[in-house]
Amino acid sequence: MTVNVDQVLEAVTAAGKQVFADNWGTISTYAETEFKKMSQQMVDIAANVAKHEVDASQGYTAEVGKMLMDMQRLSTVNVLIAMSAMTLVAAQQALNAMLEIVKNTLGGVIGAIL
């Protein structure tokens, strides 16, 4: 069975949207770019293993393909961590903007009644 990039991308994006549903808007640009690269890389690995079976001077063995998939798993973990960090950065920025407004608008009023 031949798997193309779009099929992998669709599955990966659906999973990502489910996991980061509440924050998808914040991370979608980064996530969609990285998911596309991730899908392309996985399809490339499969294609190179298939190529090697036809011509041993091209591509690489299934053993190397497996090692590259292990590398890909580690990259995926880093991407997930970055996506989580992005949601925290957005939350931090929103909180600090809110506190700045509170400080500027209510600070003086409250200070006056104490």
């Binding site: 549903a21 890389q41 973990v77 961590i81």
Partner: protein, 189 residues
Amino acid sequence: MRQSLIPSLIKRMKQAWFAPLFLVLALGACSTVTLISPYDEKLEAGVTQYVQDLSSFLVKMQAANGTAAGKYENNIDFYATQIGLLDGLILRAEAQDTGVGCLLTGKAIKILGDKLPAALRPKPGQTTGTPEGCSLMMVKNIKAQLGIIANIHKAMGGLNADAAKSVEDITMQAIRAVLTVEMLKKKGE
């Protein structure tokens, strides 16, 4: 005579309407809220250096593929140097880490469950992780990838263009994740 501020404040806090107002004031008094670790210039510089070194190495290895110069045995120095560089970054990240580890957001843990890599799964009773723990894990992942690159190099006897491209694309993704987080922190400071 002016009354002391503290008893006056306590008296006012007993009034129900004042409690939320006091909370707002207390929050307002805080300069900023910090949910992520500060921007780390050395981490950014370190991983950028690593990616530059790896890219040049892969170009050289493709050119030398099939010759003695392209064999793993003749390039052990490259791996030793890069492991040293990454170990330095890991040591630095460990010094800032509290040992709690890195956890993804609660929702990610709930949905992915057992599919999450073991290192990202909460240990029994663990409900939180730290941003420092996440930085440490990302650099450790890059080092683990370098170990796999060395194994691929050994297994193939050299690195052909197809292997070099896959290795580079995958490594770049891991490094881009670190740099994306650091750039965000830099912008947010």
